[in-house]
């Protein structure tokens, strides 16, 4: 996006949002969207490390066919906690809570989100939900799988299901509050001249994500509350022995949890549009199609949840309907991928670190998306349901797609957030290591899944060992790849070269303000006069 910079947008006093106040209280009581984004960054990074440690234990256990590191019960708890932490406490909040919070007001020329105090409240709610999850670990863990399937979760499990349910229930409200804040901000606080079709596609993606958060999250909150009520009071909702219907729980759970995949991937898609436009020096091909495809994904994503239930005793007729609808949701996803490819065609592509992650995203998300069609096909899904094929598929979407987008965003906007540049060579190397490590971890899982290895087992036949050894070797490489950015990004905060307002020579309002931005982002409200990503015009706002 380009703007007419009517006047300097910043005070030039040298003060920025990081130096606007010192001490713990100034952070814990802040209502500045940028500081809240940093609070989220720290919180979800902690959860990513914890979720990653559970994954490490899982992968070490699976090195050998025998269950020689942990017991079956402990293994159940490990994969449950890995899923719970990674999904509810890392992937769902990752890009929206960190980069959405930091960037949405600046990208639309506003001083803050519409409800700054609600924004801070959402972080506290998230933190309280997280504390419950820590309590679950201390209480001995939970073994239901992150899916909480009934009646096991509601009646039979002897683990800390109630505590987990409360934690997830509370955390859901954080999502709802964030989504509400984004929707109102995008509707009401855009700068003069910033029409809907001049908005960065990052904003469109977050708008669509927010709709899912608002419409879907209450359903999973209620579902988990019902599990809690059945477990504590014995009321018959899901347990057939009490007159309930366990498939009803799966309907309620997946009504949110399938769209939740799009909560994870849509913001990443928004990041991709920013990265590809910047590093190809071109306007996104078919801007309006890419914008509307975000909304189409948000809506269609609510119509396909039954493909998780083909083997659940859901009716075959419903299964056929869900199977057909599942094929439809591939269309807007493909629109995006094809349009990004068309944007790159003839573009002046450069290979800085964020673009390396964009390339990674494109390849991995495409594999994840296409294998999703295998699973959406009713007949084929019956054979690979609950095998490692499914595990590989959703990791290609959630890790290959969402985390690649997250890391791309982190590297793209890091200089903006902290005013420092990181060592490009190390960053590029780490992106390559992550790509190799990721593929070595998860591609063998497609093969072993297709051959019949079920998920959630810690003991398996000897002939599957080679695939698990490869997978564990890949996970080790992936862990090293993830460790690199921790080191060089922290190093950059101290020793990194100072970044100007626009180190990538990119278009967009966020690149017209200093790095790091001042507390109120703009001294004067900017006036937008150009389309998004108009790289045919010279980049403005390069003044320091």
């Amino acid at each position: 996006m380009s703007t007419t910079v009517e006047a300097s947008h910043h005070s030039g006093t040298g003060e920025n949002y990081l130096t606007a106040g010192y001490g713990l209280k100034s952070w814990l009581m802040t209502t500045d969207h940028k500081r809240i984004a940093i609070l989220y960054l720290l919180s979800i990074s902690l959860f990513f490390v914890i979720g990653g440690l559970f994954a490490v234990l899982i992968r070490i256990e699976l090195l050998t066919p025998a269950g020689d590191l942990v017991s079956a019960d402990s293994y159940n708890k490990l994969f449950t906690l890995h899923g719970l932490v990674m999904i509810f406490f890392f992937l769902v909040p990752s890009i929206p809570a960190v980069f959405g919070n930091f960037l949405i007001p600046i990208m639309i020329g506003a001083r803050d989100l519409a409800f700054p105090k609600v924004n801070l409240a959402s972080w506290y709610v998230f933190t309280i939900g997280g504390l419950f999850t820590f309590a679950v670990v201390l209480a001995g863990g939970v073994d239901t799988g992150w899916t909480f399937y009934t009646p096991y979760s509601s009646t039979y499990s002897k683990t800390a299901v109630g505590l987990t349910a409360i934690g997830v229930f509370i955390t859901g409200f954080s999502s709802i509050l964030t989504g509400l804040n984004f929707v109102v901000t995008i509707h009401k606080m855009r700068a003069p001249g910033l029409t809907w079709f001049r908005l960065p596609l990052f904003i469109w993606a977050h708008y669509a994500t927010s709709l899912i958060m608002l419409l879907g999250t209450p359903v999973v909150a209620i579902s988990i509350l019902l599990v809690f009520l059945e477990r504590v009071f014995g009321i018959g909702i899901f347990d057939p022995a009490l007159g309930g219907d366990p498939v009803l729980f799966q309907h309620l759970f997946w009504f949110y949890s399938h769209p939740a995949v799009y909560i994870m991937i849509l913001p990443s898609m928004g990041v991709m549009s920013e990265l590809i436009a910047c590093f190809c020096r071109k306007r996104i091909f078919g801007y309006s199609f890419v914008a509307f495809s975000s909304l189409a994904i948000a809506v269609l994503g609510f119509l396909v949840w039954g493909h998780h239930m083909f083997t659940s005793s859901q009716s075959i007729y419903a299964g056929m309907v869900f199977s057909i609808l599942t094929m439809m949701v591939a269309i807007p996803s493909a629109v995006k991928v094809f349009n990004w490819a068309a944007t790159m065609y003839g573009g002046s592509i450069s290979y800085e670190t964020p673009m390396m992650y964009a390339f990674g995203f494109l390849g991995l998300f495409t594999i994840g998306g296409l294998t999703g069609l295998f699973l959406g096909a009713l007949g084929l899904d019956v054979h690979v349901h609950d095998t490692y094929f499914v595990v590989a598929h959703f990791h290609y979407i959630m890790v290959g797609g969402a985390i690649m987008g997250y890391l791309g965003a982190l590297h793209f906007w890091w200089p903006k957030m902290f005013g420092r540049l990181y060592p490009e060579a190390w960053a590029k190397l780490s992106s390559i290591v992550i790509f190799i490590g990721f593929n070595l971890t998860f591609f063998p899982q497609f093969l072993v899944g297709y051959l019949g290895m079920p998920r959630r087992y810690h003991v398996y036949p000897d002939e599957f060992q080679i695939f698990h050894v490869l997978s564990t070797a890949g996970a080790s490489i992936l862990a090293i790849g993830y460790a690199f950015p921790v080191v060089y990004l922290i190093w950059s905060l101290v020793r990194g070269e100072k970044a100007g307002p626009n180190p990538w020579n990119a278009k967009g309002l966020e690149w017209t303000v200093p790095s790091p931005p001042t507390t109120f982002n703009f001294d004067e409200t900017p006036v937008v006069t150009e389309e998004a990503y108009d790289y045919s015009r010279p980049v403005e706002g390069k003044v320091v």
């Binding site: 608002l214 419409l215 879907g216 498939v247 609510f302 309907v321």
Partner: protein, 108 residues
């Protein structure tokens, strides 16, 4: 957000109506209305929900955009219930191969 000022008596009136409808719900539960039992209970509940949304949540005095978002919630609720019922009502259908591939046989 709506800046509309709502007289306190409206709130009291709505509150009284909600209490009255709650009493009616309890009272009706003691009568066997046959096929209407479920519909009456649900109808009263929906009416009460509408009062809360329109008055206590100020939707009646809010912008059209707010109305659209409220309506969207109900549309998605309808989607959810439609697919639940699609599954529940066809769970015992049988599929039999025939000359055209297969056909659905509904239980008699």
């Amino acid at each position: 957000m709506s800046e509309h000022s709502i007289p306190a008596r409206i709130y009291y009136l709505v509150f009284a109506t909600l209490l009255l409808l709650t009493l009616i719900t309890v009272e009706v539960a003691f009568y066997d209305l046959g096929i209407l039992t479920f519909g009456v209970a649900l109808g009263i509940a929906c009416f009460k929900a509408a009062l809360v949304i329109l008055y206590f949540m100020h939707v009646r005095y809010s912008s059209g955009l707010t109305g659209i978002f409220v309506a969207a919630g109900f549309v998605f609720l309808a989607i959810m219930l439609t697919f639940f019922l699609l599954d529940a009502s066809s769970r015992d259908w049988q599929y039999q191969p025939d000359s055209s591939g297969f056909s659905m046989v509904r239980p008699s």
